[in-house]
């Protein structure tokens, strides 16, 4: 296995704190291995910065295997870098070549204020889930597994939506900064299960109201969200959400 070393020019958004003004800053990163992930390349850059006594670039990350949804970088204008079905942490540097210029920016949305550099506050998502993305369960013993049969079709629809890791790439990609793909995925995953079904219409009403209160935009069906979603969640969930919300008006 060859291990070519690359030299890259990065333009990274830097902002010292929530209220400070930010700007794009230029960095040159040397000795980047093509086996590195994008986040490892960022670590590598940070080491170089720290050696020089500069402040390292703050960015969110946790699992580094595409399951937690923490990493959140708009790479060359596309959230997570534009390779189908991958998060920034799963993005390999072999997709870049020596001498490339790369632009790295945080998610941009009014509802996701920048806290520092590439780190944004995504608690708006938590509040939407808290508003209706749950199932009310009366306490008691845990029910037996398989006590409630669920058809394969419904289980699949639910599981496809449940794949959402809440990273917020959908909002970052959308020209309108709409959160519909996230919100609809969270609703769909519960709405297709017998446990979630009874609260279906209440749920969509509450989640939609919270979504609007958070200051996200409206959905114009660009489908950019679907294109950048690292879990490849279909805009089907959005149509479903719209339908449920319409039906909910009559309830």
């Amino acid at each position: 296995m060859s291990d070519k070393k690359m030299k890259l020019k990065l333009h990274v958004y830097r902002q010292a704190s929530k209220d400070a003004a930010g700007a794009m800053k230029e960095y040159v990163v040397e000795d980047v291995s093509e086996h590195m992930s994008f986040l490892e390349m960022m670590d590598h850059l940070n080491e170089q910065l720290m050696n020089k006594g500069e402040e390292p670039i703050a960015f969110d990350h946790d699992c580094r295997e595409g399951i937690c949804g923490m990493c959140s970088m708009v790479i060359n204008g596309i959230p997570h870098g534009g390779h189908r079905g991958v998060t920034a942490c799963q993005l390999h540097m072999r997709h870049f070549k020596d001498g490339d210029e790369i632009f790295v920016e945080p998610w941009r949305a009014r509802a996701f204020p920048v806290l520092r550099d590439l780190v944004v506050d995504r608690q708006a998502f938590d509040r939407i889930v808290a508003a209706g993305g749950y199932v009310s369960i009366n306490t008691g013993g845990a029910p037996d597994a398989n006590a409630l049969p669920i058809s394969k079709k419904e289980a699949d629809l639910s599981m496809d939506a449940a794949a959402c890791i809440g990273c917020g790439a959908c909002v970052a990609a959308c020209k309108n900064a709409s959160a519909m793909l996230f919100v609809a995925a969270k609703a769909s995953h519960l709405n297709h299960l017998p446990q979630g079904e009874p609260e279906r219409y209440e749920r969509v009403k509450k989640m939609a109201a919270q979504m609007d209160a958070e200051g996200f935009g409206t959905c114009s069906n660009y489908s950019s969200c679907e294109a950048v979603c690292p879990k490849e969640i279909s805009v089907r969930v959005i149509a479903e959400f719209n339908r449920d919300l319409l039906k909910a008006q009559a309830k």
Binding site: P113, A173, S178, A209, D212, F216, S224, N242
Partner: protein
Amino acid sequence: MAEASELRREAASEPLFGSLATFAMSSVGSKVVMAVTGIGLWLFITAHLAGNLTAFLGREIFNGYAAALHHNQPLLWGMRLALLIGFPLHILTAARTVALNRAARPVEYAWANKSPARAAAKTMMLSGAVVLAFLLYHLAHFTWRVTGPMPAAPLPSGDWDAYSMLVMGFQRPLIAGFYVLGQVLLAAHLSHGLYSMFQHLGLWGRRWTPWLQSAALVVGYGLCIAFASIPLAVLLGIIKP
């Protein structure tokens, strides 16, 4: 950032979306308004086209159609009323959502937003604005009769000689060109809108949604070609004075 702290971040108190008006103002509801008014406007345009195409059948039939429409006051005013409600609702809701969406991203990407989206979808506002400008011109031309060449005298029956108006207007390349341009932008608008309305109304099918996207393209540009054929036919001398 400062703008974040201004957000209320609290959902409206009960009853949530209780009234229809509140729903129509919400982000999902405003798109339902766009979809429903969009369907109405599209139906109107299709009916309008069917009438226009009688121009190919000659002066008598076209003028007969125009006169029949003019004398059928209930139909005419029913149509006008529907348009007087549908158009402003469609336009004002569009303006409101655009303002909302701009506010939703106060800081744009420094480099660019390269996330994929179809061009027709991203330019709905632009195509809509040009279609609106075209519509106003078209009304001034044929309905208010303040622009464009006019036949010297009405028909003996007292009706306007719509056929002559059409031919005299479209014999001027500039006017014909503007009509064709208006139709091309209308086609772009419909090619996204006709698909989008189904999404907004919650109608999605694994198999037929992709089909629908192609159908919207065919219907949108089909209407455009059919409409534009009239000024072009006049220019080419197929529709004769």
